[in-house]
Symmetry: C2
């Protein structure tokens, strides 16, 4: 009966994503206190009109479900009440459904034989359909209609968007130890979810202290998260004063927490038989993979993938203990890792909408100057990896208003500086970093953001914008080297104050200028020596900026050096007991020093998305796979063993994958979509099972991969 | 124990008002269909931080109630949970409460011995309180803090803002008549509220047809509002599919309706004993009054006051049958009438916030170009009548952004024209009115709006804005006469197309230019003859523009002529049976022609606020009382009998009143606050019981009124 693709619930683009992100961002707590973020929290349009032009061969009954109070108009005529079924007559008609909902995003689900809600429906927050005295309707030609947004998840009448939940799965404790009158429970590795008490009864308090480390769980005064429950017979009251009935002896906490350990104490009059947890996760297929002969590297990849699993939720969050918020700089890296792991485009889009919020723009993204730019960069990459032009056209109006905000805050040189209320972040640095004046790092990101605007203006068919942003991008890019290049130091200096370049060199702008290709080949090599491999330049101690540092080195062909660094740094965390990667890691720290940050003994997050960068580096710079045209319609495969004996892996593409195996004399490639060149070097003439190998400069060769069969290359 | 003024619930300024207006605006229905408005519906900030610097002589326990999920910070430190009591230590402290609420506006109520929520608390939607790696807090000097808003109504912990309801009072039917198997119930006069069924039982449908007229109620096919109930034992289902239990035999409808008559039919299996109604109203004291020797005029004043009572709700609405929405042009007149009736400043502020909504501005107010300007004018008058500078400073940022929107849409002459998507309304005219090009009416309103901006910029201590808007206002005002004055016709022409003044004269711009004093005394007199008293200029058939037409005539001293017009026009409606004043009235219409509008037989609203203008005209131009400095600190009293033998009345002032009695030889004045001149004419030397009468030009005299005692003047 149902010939077309399934109906989905639909809503105003971005609105549900923003609302859902609010639900998620507001789950952070600190020692029992609710801890929302400090930037503006936007929300959905509370009144939305959905419309569709239909043309029916036969009358058709539609099922209608709505989240909100609504009306239906057929050909401009209001229909009685709020029906759950409605008969559409044959022929051409206009169907409009207008919904009001303050609490959750207005959303509709319409399902008939042919008429179904999907993103061919139009939506507006302001239809401007007035009527004049004679009853004549207004001109709505200036009304802004967008395409509706809907997710495949919500494909049934009873799958209400407002009721969305991540998946859960019960996990048991690995060990339970009695410590000072309480129980210390170890779940074996970093995890995230809802603690659950079995056979709970009695009357009195239960104190729960969570720890990503054993030390934290046992430190009842300083652990970052805790819960206090008051049990009274069949009811349990939590710190939000919510009262929940115990069902069949089981009480599950309302808020999920991050932990490996929990330490639980209780009043004598309360009892329970066991504590388990409901692991909360987004069910996703890990379509990317990487294995090699180095077991430590394999473990690094696995721990990175698990770190991504834990931090991939309704959106990509920074860390699971704190902040549990969406941060643009962190999310940008999650996007990149995701393209080499799950290729979950939906979560990239959700996160992009949520970070952007609504107009007006009242601060930088997350209040951070650099994070505004990472938001633009994320869209650039999203398009490159997915080829999803439709999303670009949907989000383009918000790109415009955010860039207007940036352009409204530039100085006389057309550059950005931190103004009052702006957070100039760059990185958590273990030394002095000047945040004043024109930072080269910010200008490099700004340039790339302007280039992104020009690209997306073109995709959104906005030629005047394209011209404007191309000019702005070219102008700013032309200023970078004159402003910041220090010919003596062979590097971009950190900043300029009152038009005067300063002397300090930091790694940040230099790294980005390398892989953004803003420098000559000669300058890039100079930077490698003068900055990247120069120990006198302040070292980076966050996996966040290590990500880019190693990417820059890979882009310069230093895979062997980077392999060593990965094994030292990420291997180092694993040797310290990490089961997920950390927010920050200083190899010279000892013991509980590893746990402290922000002046708090357990302030550091031990599961932080930006820690997982080997996922990206191994996929893009060892397997060597990346798109060169949008959505992998064309790709490049440039594998490098980087000291390994062999490696094998897969990189997901929008509707397929590229698999690669390489050892010291064989490369095997299978690409199920797209086409592109496999490039490699060989000391002797290589052989291919299919196609013609072309010789390039030096010992380099390339082979066009175009077809779904495996291609085997022998080389030396 | 409680020495200070009472604590009130507080919220972000404007947010509750916007939310409450949404609740109100969304109560419109048309024949059982939900009918929300067609412009953007804004909503509250969902995350708001409230803060207060406190200095306590002794520790103090505070009671805390919050609408939303919240946290408490004392001196920057988060406190556990969501407590309902909290002990504040002695000394200087910072108290912060941060609240998240998607569905209703974040609001808090704090009550201690000295610490109480009131508008000395600060609020922000974006505190920007980040901490750096070391735990140091950010600079929040760029954070925008506003004063909290709270109403005196919400002065107890259990008076939750989200639960606000108007008052109700049960009214019985006046007559019940059996008509064609149904009951026609007459409540005796136009009314508004919830229909109520007594001893309701059985199973089946009840159909309810509402009518402002008997004809409408009995016309089941075309009446504008109706309800269909499905009774099934103890449950009743309405058209919104909501199911309500019958309590002690009584079922009250969920949505209020406007009617005088209801016609009710039912299935045989359903029964009820009686239908009554709960009259829904805003309890207010009518502080203004007017009586005179002319009983018809007294009745006009009473019907006007009742029309205002019916249309004064959470905000001032246009009409009670439809649209039940806030329209800026309609509200502007309600404000003016209100200053002479209830002096309800709260409802003026609510309506002003609600009309403005939030940023960004995406269309004119209610989509109507002229209504944007009436919004500014309403603020001008609000300040003049109330002297409330605090409100001006709170709303000023939204005045700026709305005026930015207007200025972004001006043409090369700095004038406004209707652009695509703009509704150029002016009036419902019974003849051709060109809406193209530069309308003189719009430019006159624009000029006054710019003058309002300049005034309010000054009150908000924004000197650069003041300078900017003063210049814009002066420039535009200087263009009005050169652009529109037609020296042959002695009038402002209606519009200019491509810089060419057109020939048509309409009344609109001419009226406003008169009482805005944009013309010379000579031009004003010319307009009186050439336009206002000229029957060949298209007549006005709405009470809306009659309001300004008669005001212009009063401003020109034509009170006798206006008295005649009032008795003809408003007296005419009463003679047609009106119990409240209508949206439109054409004295030449007959019978049911009076009920039709918008191409629908009962489309016309028979209770429309803009119909009540005699309230304003009698107070301002007969009693002759108006403020000349903000908040009646100075006033003018210029009474005119206009053909009456005597009149007596009171005009409310912010904290008092001005009472006046006048007959043909005596004037009695009592002013309980402010000072100002009583001005009058007398053929012989007048005498005063107090003070010294000064002679002016001609037969005119004035007497300073300064003191609370009654002053009696004898004159001839």
């Amino acid at each position: 009966m149902n010939n077309n693709s399934a109906a989905t619930w639909i809503w105003y683009p971005g609105d549900y994503e923003i609302w859902l992100a609010n639900e998620m961002n507001n789950r952070r707590t600190e020692r029992g206190a609710f801890f929302p973020h400090f930037w503006k929290m936007d929300s959905h349009y509370v009144l939305v009109e959905f419309s569709k032009k239909i043309n029916l061969a036969a009358p058709e009954e539609i099922e209608i479900a709505v989240e909100g109070k609504f009306n239906i108009k057929l050909d401009g005529k209001l229909q009685f009440g709020m029906p759950t079924k409605f008969m559409l007559p044959a022929g051409k008609h206009s169907l409009n459904i207008k919904v009001w909902n303050q609490a959750t995003p207005p959303a509709i689900f319409v399902n008939g034989k042919t008429v179904k809600t999907d993103n061919s429906w139009k939506v507006t927050y302001e239809d401007k359909e007035w009527i004049d005295e004679s009853g004549k309707a207004s001109d709505t030609s200036a009304t802004i209609y967008m395409d509706a947004e809907g997710w495949a998840d919500f494909d049934a009448v009873d799958k209400l968007p407002s009721q969305y939940k991540l998946a859960i799965e019960e996990h048991k404790a690995v060990t339970v130890t009695n410590v000072q009158g309480g129980q210390l429970i170890d779940f074996g590795k970093e995890t995230f979810g809802f603690l659950r008490f079995h056979a709970l009864s009695g009357k009195g308090k239960i104190n729960i202290f969570y720890g990503e480390s054993k030390e934290e769980a046992l430190d009842t005064n300083d652990c970052e998260t805790l819960d206090v429950l008051t049990v009274d017979g069949n009811n349990v009251t939590d710190e939000a004063l919510a009262i929940t009935s115990i069902l069949e002896g089981i009480y599950t906490l309302a808020n999920s927490k991050a932990f490996r350990y929990v330490y639980v104490t209780k009043d004598d009059e309360v009892s329970f038989s066991e504590i388990s947890m409901l692991y909360e996760f987004k069910p996703e297929e890990q379509r990317g993979s990487f294995t090699c002969d180095d077991e430590e590297l394999n473990r690094i990849w696995e721990v990175g993938a698990y770190t991504m699993e834990l931090t991939t939720r309704e959106c990509f969050i920074d860390g699971i203990k704190r902040d549990r918020w969406i941060w643009s700089g962190d999310a940008y890296q999650s996007y990149l890792m995701n393209y080499y792991l799950c290729f979950d485009s939906q979560t990239v889009k959700n996160t992009t909408w949520a970070l952007r919020g609504k107009d007006p723009v009242t601060s930088h993204t997350n209040t951070i100057l650099d994070y505004t730019f990472f938001w633009f960069l994320g869209i650039y990459d999203y398009y490159l990896y997915t080829g999803d032009e439709h999303f670009i056209s949907q989000v383009y109006p918000r790109m415009q208003t955010l860039m207007d905000y940036v352009l409204g805050r530039t100085n006389k040189n057309g550059m950005v500086e931190g103004l009052t209320g702006d957070w100039v972040f760059v990185d958590w640095a273990d030394g002095f970093m000047d945040k004043h004046g024109e930072l080269s790092f910010e200008q490099v990101l700004f340039t790339k953001s302007l280039e992104t605007m020009a690209l997306c203006a073109k995709l959104a068919d906005n030629t005047p914008d394209q011209t404007k942003y191309e000019k702005l991008a070219v102008d700013l890019r032309a200023k970078l080297l004159p402003a910041f290049w220090n010919e003596t130091q062979k590097a971009l200096v950190h900043n300029r104050l009152n038009d005067k370049p300063q002397e300090q060199i930091t790694r940040y702008a230099n790294m980005f200028a390398v892989f953004f290709n803003y420098l000559s080949a000669e300058q890039k090599q100079e930077i490698k020596e003068s900055v990247l491999l120069n120990d006198s330049v302040m070292k980076i101690s966050t996996p966040y900026m290590r990500f880019y540092e190693l990417e820059a080195l890979c882009a310069l062909g230093e895979q062997k050096e980077v392999m060593k660094e990965m094994k030292d740094y990420w291997g180092g965390m694993i040797r310290e007991g990490a089961t997920s990667f950390w927010e920050k890691y200083n190899p010279t720290d000892k013991g509980t020093q590893h746990l402290a940050m922000y002046g708090r003994p357990y302030g550091k997050s031990l599961c932080h998305a930006w820690g997982a960068s080997p996922i990206y580096l191994l996929g893009k710079y060892y397997l060597g796979i990346q798109p060169t045209k949008a959505g992998y319609s064309e790709f490049a495969i440039n594998p490098t063993l980087g000291g390994l004996k062999w490696m094998e892996g897969a990189v997901p593409t929008p509707n397929g994958e590229i698999k690669l195996y390489m050892n010291e004399n064989t490369i095997k490639v299978t690409a199920t979509e797209g086409r592109g060149y496999l490039t490699f070097s060989s000391e002797s003439q290589p052989q291919a099972s299919k196609g013609t190998i072309e010789k390039l400069e030096g010992n380099n060769y390339r082979l066009l991969i175009d077809g779904k069969e495996e291609v085997v290359v022998s080389y030396k």
